[in-house]
Symmetry: C2
Subunit: 200 residues, 2 copies
């Protein structure tokens, strides 16, 4: 029995969004499942001393172009959001709240939240927007509004972020297969080959 | 007649080294030539406010692993140098000195210098080491020793770096095909597709 693949991502990461549209399909091809693990990359930036690519002169222009070009290549809808980057704590809380009871639905919600932001231009840093998406996905507004304020949900997000950092995760997407880490949507070709061959 | 592809790189860049072993072959497949354009990425880091990946905690460990894994995948010899990163001004001067009279031999020299550093562990930041490699490649020691101190060669390196920055080049490898920029060895799949299809 193969162990599941860990998929770390931040809800404000464009390459994380691109990865989210492909990761389960890719894993399934090789009989693997995927555990989705959103976390708060902002906490990591404080440790690594790095900044999101889009906050650097020169790099920012290129990155927007590269993200759009890569999305076109894989036929993934994307419209670069005006507000970027954003705090991703509200979507992260919504995810872990739902994940507690239904991991599949939590994945679907993650996809809907990502799409709302990167294809719909909606500001998912706002708890209200996240609640709207949750309701559109078929859940009760009261439940999510309560959840977003729930202390154990808040703690869960902090714990998952701490655990990611302990595991030396620093990027998005960041995928771990049997202890082998892969950073970036552009490692999907190596991921595919790794799953196929067992490594090299 | 297709215009040549521009290949920007820094001699201290591991992914630039990986790219140097493949770029001409890839371009040739589609009837293209490549102009090699080494430059001093240190000057760009001052503008972008970025640092080499390997200087960040967490990212450095991953990067060394990723570089080794990628090199193994493409069967490119690499031993991560103890001294890293290094100043790349001496190799850059040697390249432009030779490039003035023979662009093909300048490419061969660039490959030999890269190999001396990334496969041989030799400190190519030292003018003496660069002179040794030039001599091994079949040139006169006096000629390269004089060239490394020559003002017009020094100016040429500065000019090429300024021109790269004007063109918004910021990374290594950084490849420009008909005004379309591609950053990183991991964009070689997109480069191949771009050359094949003319873009998307």
């Amino acid at each position: 029995m193969n162990s599941p693949i860990d998929f770390y991502f931040d809800f404000s990461s464009p390459y994380g969004y691109l990865a989210s549209t492909r990761i389960d399909e890719l894993a399934e091809k090789f009989g693997r499942t995927v555990v989705w693990r959103p976390y708060l990359m902002g906490a990591v930036f404080k440790i690594t001393g790095r900044q999101p690519l889009v906050q650097h002169p020169l790099v920012n222009e290129y990155s927007e172009r590269d993200i759009a070009r890569t999305a076109r290549l894989y036929d993934i809808p994307i419209t670069f959001p005006e507000k970027f980057p954003i705090a991703s704590v509200a979507p992260c809380r919504a995810f872990y709240w739902l994940n507690e009871t239904d991991t599949e639905k939590a994945k679907q919600l993650a996809c809907s939240i990502y799409k709302a932001y990167f294809a719909g231009g909606r500001d998912i840093s706002k708890p209200d927007t996240v609640a709207d998406v949750v309701v559109e996905t078929g859940f009760d507004r009261d439940a999510i509004e309560t959840a977003l304020q729930n202390q154990s949900v808040k703690d869960k997000v902090r714990e998952e972020t701490d655990k990611a950092i302990e595991r030396k995760v620093f990027g998005s997407p960041y995928i771990v297969i049997d202890d082998e880490p892969f950073w970036g949507f552009d490692r999907f070709d190596q991921i595919e080959r790794w799953l196929e061959t067992g490594g090299w």
